[in-house]
Amino acid sequence: MAGRDHPQRVPEREPGGPRRRDGLELALAQVAKGDDGAFREVYDQAAPAVLGIVRRVLRDPAQSEEVMQEVLLEVWRAAARYDPATGSAVAWIMTLAHRRAVDRVRSEQRATERELRAATATIDYDEVSDAVETSLEHQRVRRCLDGLTDLQRESVTLAYYGGYSYPEVAQLLGVAVGTVKTRMRDGLIRLRDCLGVD
């Protein structure tokens, strides 16, 4: 966005720069110009994570695949609007993915329906978890989550993975809404510091 007046300026690797651009950001800049090869690259890098989070929130495998594709198509369409100054490409894509999943949960499903879905999808979900748990990234995040207090961890995971609102989380945990709000914030801050994100 900063280079708006210079359309030819494409993000380049800046080894000494304030924040290095990763491969995803470089590919995204190409996607913005309609490069379908670069979109394949973005798909390969982002689709697994998008499917992963959407599936944790929605549970239903078929619906998750559909939402994953919608998110990737959003990325294709809106690539020119991504601004590296506002955060990493991963965060941009994951924000789109999580919001889309949560919107789906809130708009389409009554709570009972969601529980039903969760129950019927249990076996499948466990298989997914097994595969996920072998990844290094999963273990790293898991370790950081273990460093949170129980209430922080439960608040964060119910909100992010469960797609619950903070009043719902408060209800589930039997604590005040104000407490849940601060635990969500403090938990994420601790997670951020543990993961060493910028």
Binding site: M1, A2, R4, D36, F39, R40, Y43, D44, A47, P48, A49, V50, L51, G52, I53, R56, E65, M68, E70, L72, L73, W76, R77, A78, A80, R81, A85, T86, G87, S88, V90, A91, M94, T95, H98, R99, R100, V102, V132, E137, H138, R140, V141, R142, V156, A159, Y161, G163, Y164, S165, P167, K181, R183, M184, R185, L188, I189, R192, V197, D198
Partner: protein, 264 residues
Amino acid sequence: MRARGAGLHTLVGAYVMDAVSEADRVSFERHLLTCEQCREDVRGLREAAARLGTAEAVRPRPELRDQTMQAAARIRQQPPLVPDRNRLQSTRRRGSTFRWLSRSAEAGARPWLARVALTAAVALAVTATVFGLHLSSMQGKLSAAEQRDTAIATVLGARDATTLTAKVTTGGMATVVMSHRERALVFIASGLTRLPAAHAYELWLMSPTGDTPAGMLPPARRGMSGPMVVYRLGPGEQLAMTVEPVAGTHQPTSAPVVVVALGG
């Protein structure tokens, strides 16, 4: 469930994880307009939340890749955002100011999350493509509000975003979030004195070489006016607001009720 006052500050975690109600989201986004620290927190916590997501990566079925590529080939991409103050003026010349503004006012109810509006627009477009509808008509309808919302998010998210506030002499407060890097600002006002129907507030960029109209303020909603985006800031300019006939004028016809020096 509605968080107010100091409570808003702690909402950042829930907000980043999409764990807020619509009402809270709107309140928090308003709060973000005037809280630079909060915007910085949102940025950092989004990165952390994203890692919760990437940690769950699973391999999609291979055939989904080609399906997605084929679908993308049928979707026209959005152009990059090119701030252009002249667009507003040319709209005015065509005499369609009011239609444009009324749509802006609707979108303006949720300033910070331009992304939400964008997402919704994209969702519509994707759905339309999947069902074989024509995108062009929809794009025509959405682009003004969409482009404006994206501009707001860009200014608020800019690393050099600074917030200025000033009292309006006839009542109320004006807040400007400005990014010199993006050469744009977002203007909001609260508690402005209600004007007779024939009049409205108009924004101006004032410089030694002359005054340029920067848009009519849409009617206030719940005491809030704006947000408005003003593009193409030049060095040494001032943002001013005057009371003008509701159709707008090409030059200010009354003394400004507020002037904000933009520096840079």
